[in-house]
């Protein structure tokens, strides 16, 4: 917070620390700008980016010729390039699009054709036998499918956190609990009113996700899209279920949704979801037991052995969707860019979106000559984890094998967790099968001094 009434001045202010805002903050920082990232929540990734399927898409099924497609593909390419340097997981497990009815089977050639048009040329048709040879646990009623070899799994939180961290270690500023209320543009620069005081900035980038249209209204008094939140619920099965599926198992999509996916997570669980349910509420993603039951049944139809597996958790997320099927990326005359309606592919596309808008914009600063590359804590189950190495302080969360050293690390540094939810996203504490039965007490003791208590008091 500024000490005097004088606001600090920035080259670029990014509104919203979702995956998109984090990637943009990183991009402009590396391009040499003085960057400020504003987030109204106590921590990053508290909006749409808190819950997704964690798939790094190739764009094989994205709308042909769309900005979305080009951002997904550029995002994929950049992620491949930087993931090792930032210590981020990348599980190139591949996806299979499966047909369960004759009608679905008849649509496979068109979908493959679309993939080829989208430059995803390595798709291949599979007979029922070939499908079952690759996925022996699938229900034998499957008819056919095709494989998309490069669809991949990533960590939906360590990726955006790494973008944010790289921005921060290279000089960006991150201000949380700061909501942008209004602003004025004087022809040269912006003066933003926020809940923690004024901000002076040459440019503004609106990456407010589920509030993109509202932030447009607040700043420039107009918006060319209306956010219509679309909820997706998930059921997550225990780690022992992960052996049941090697690929990402996709259905033949419908008009409105990619449909219900069954896939592993890099943490070694198996998830099923999401649903696609339109709603007004931009904050709450309510679970309902009937839908969860439906998802479990659906998953069991696809992989019958799931009937014997335990459910570890359930969750729901909100897509920042709008009426049509394209991203709303606009450059406004007021030195502002809106990155809106990044509906259901933002995790994959974020690095590509950042690249895209940096090209829309003039970037007059000298790029950082030798930026720092912070290494993220590795949480993927198939990599060496902290609990396997000396000096870890002992395991705190037994189900997810999170060590005391990992928890301490997540509560320090420029991107330190400030909420329990933020700590969970950085470490996975209490997110395993016991959901805190064993470690809640020990965790509370460790975090009492660092985290804002989450209670009604």
């Amino acid at each position: 917070m500024p000490e005097s009434g004088q606001p600090i001045s920035f080259d670029v202010t990014v509104i919203g620390a979702g995956v998109v805002g984090c990637a943009i903050a990183r991009k402009y920082t590396l391009l040499g700008a003085r960057v400020l990232l504003l987030e109204k929540a106590p921590d990053a990734l508290d909006g749409a980016s808190k819950a997704n399927s964690a798939i790094l898409h190739t764009g094989f099924d994205a709308p042909v010729g769309s900005i979305e497609l080009s951002c997904i593909q550029e995002g994929y390419r950049q992620y491949e390039q930087i993931h090792a340097k930032l210590n981020l997981p990348l599980d190139r497990c591949g996806a299979m699009v499966l047909a369960w009815t004759a009608e679905q089977e008849s649509r496979l050639p068109d979908l493959m054709e679309q993939a080829r048009t989208n430059s995803v040329g390595d798709v291949a048709l599979l007979s029922r036998e070939q499908v079952l040879a690759r996925e022996p646990e699938l229900a034998s009623t499957v008819r056919a499918g095709f494989i998309v070899p490069r669809e991949a799994l990533i960590d939906p939180w360590s990726a955006p956190h790494s973008y944010l961290s790289q921005a921060l270690v290279n000089g960006a500023t991150f201000r949380r609990n700061t909501e942008v209320l209004s602003g004025s543009f004087d022809g040269n620069a912006w003066m933003l009113e926020t809940t923690t005081g004024p901000v002076h900035s040459t440019r503004v980038i609106n990456a407010a996700g589920l509030y993109g249209d509202i932030v447009d209204q607040r700043l420039i008094g107009r918006s060319d899209f209306d956010i219509r939140p679309r909820k997706g619920q998930f059921v997550v099965f225990d780690k022992t279920a992960a052996r049941l599926a090697r690929h990402i198992l996709l259905p033949v999509p419908t008009e409105t949704t990619k449909g219900i996916v069954v896939c592993r997570t890099v943490w070694g669980n198996l998830l099923v979801g999401p649903t696609a349910e339109e709603q007004q509420d931009r904050i709450n993603a309510n679970l309902d037991s009937e839908t969860l039951e439906m998802l479990r049944e659906k998953a069991t139809e696809i992989l019958p052995a799931l009937a014997n597996e335990d459910v570890t958790t359930t969750y729901a997320g909100l897509r920042p969707a709008c009426g049509d099927k394209e991203y709303h990326i606009r450059r406004h005359p007021e030195n502002m860019i809106t990155v809106g309606a990044i509906r259901s592919t933002g995790l994959s596309a974020a690095l590509g979106i950042a690249e895209y808008i940096a090209r829309l914009d003039e970037t007059p600063w000298p790029p950082l000559p030798e930026p720092e590359w912070p290494a993220m804590p590795m949480l993927a189950e198939d990599q060496t984890r902290d609990w396997q190495t000396a000096g870890n302080g002992g395991i705190l969360c037994h189900c997810e094998r999170v060590t005391r050293r990992e928890v301490e690390a997540a509560m320090s540094g420029p991107n330190a967790a400030q909420s329990l939810a933020g700590l969970k996203r950085r470490t996975r504490v209490t997110m395993g099968r016991c959901q805190g039965f064993y470690c809640s007490g020990a965790l509370q003791e460790m975090t009492a001094k660092c985290l804002k208590p989450e209670s009604t008091e």
């Binding site: 335990d310 094998r401 064993y438 007490g441 009604t456």
Partner: protein, 400 residues
Amino acid sequence: MTSLPDICDVLIVGSGPAGLAAAARLGEAGLDVHLLERETVAGGIPRHCGHSPYGWREFRRVMGGQTYAKRLIARATSFGAHIHTAVSVTDLGRGGRVTVSSNCGLQTVQARAVLLATGARETPRAPRFIGGTKPGGVMNTGALQSLVYLNKERPFRKPVVLGSELVSVSAVLTCRHARAKPLAMIEANERPTTRRAATWLPRALGTPLLLSTQIEAIHGRTWVEGVTLTSGERRWNVECDGVVVTGAFRPENALLRTTELEVDPRTQGPVVDQYGRCSDPAYFAAGNLLRPVETAPWCWNEGRMVASAIISALAGGLPDPSLSEPVLAGYPGVAWHLPQRISPNSSAPALENVQIGLARSMAATVRYGQASANLRSKPARRILLPLPDGGVDLKFEETL
């Protein structure tokens, strides 16, 4: 604390009543015993259970769980058992080769015998598919107890308690200790799970028991603000600031699921014979890992009995495990049974009865081999039948 050995006679995993009782007996027998506990303090569940009644059977005195745990630890240590805390067992290899993780990283220990006593835990909110949001303030009794009795926290003022098992009564008592007044105990069934007598206590403390009622949804963004309850056609909201999700215990079997040890899908614990011996004869099991769920004195006794079987095994006194035969009890309404196998009798059994868990009320005559027995019971009650001499298929004939 001594450092971990490379080899030892017996390794015990878990320091609850079962593990500690076994450690004392094995130490007393002069064996080199090492007990591994993943928490920083030994004692298992009683360690964070501040209330009574514990200890009557073991020490002829009623005491709180924390005192009870300390006495069990003192006894095991006095018999020479080594207790290592903050050591998690992460893998069970064939023939008693155990991998552990601690501040030192990974290590392996080769034991002549391993006793698994990892206990049981409650089912959390998520697998119950309760709807609504996921705010803070929703927790199991275990988590509540560690917050209240160990950390001296007061997580909420007016929670609701889901469940009507014994542990649900424990949740109410724990709330009272934290000066919180549970607004209601909520039970989906028409009858409380525990004996009616036990639900007298919450009611006397002013907490009504709502039967045939469900929690449809939990509300609140960062912290619980209320719940929606349903009962038949009726649906209503209750303002509250916490939800204690109690009971529906399940064995803490995470370790078993990645090893070759045979697991019984019904108990969710390991398959054992009457000596508590698993499918790999280097491994034994006792306490709540065997089945959900028994009281502390029962687990304590089971730990001692299986320890005696381990002493026989190490002296070469147990029959060849390949001679064991199955015990079957596949009747609708029978949820699980224990032991799942019978080895030829040579020394005294560690599990002295066939234990049966029911999914519903039942009155039946059970016939097996030459023997027969009558049972009449409600679910969640302990049912004990005489141990057969060899493999049997228990036949149930329901009586009215």
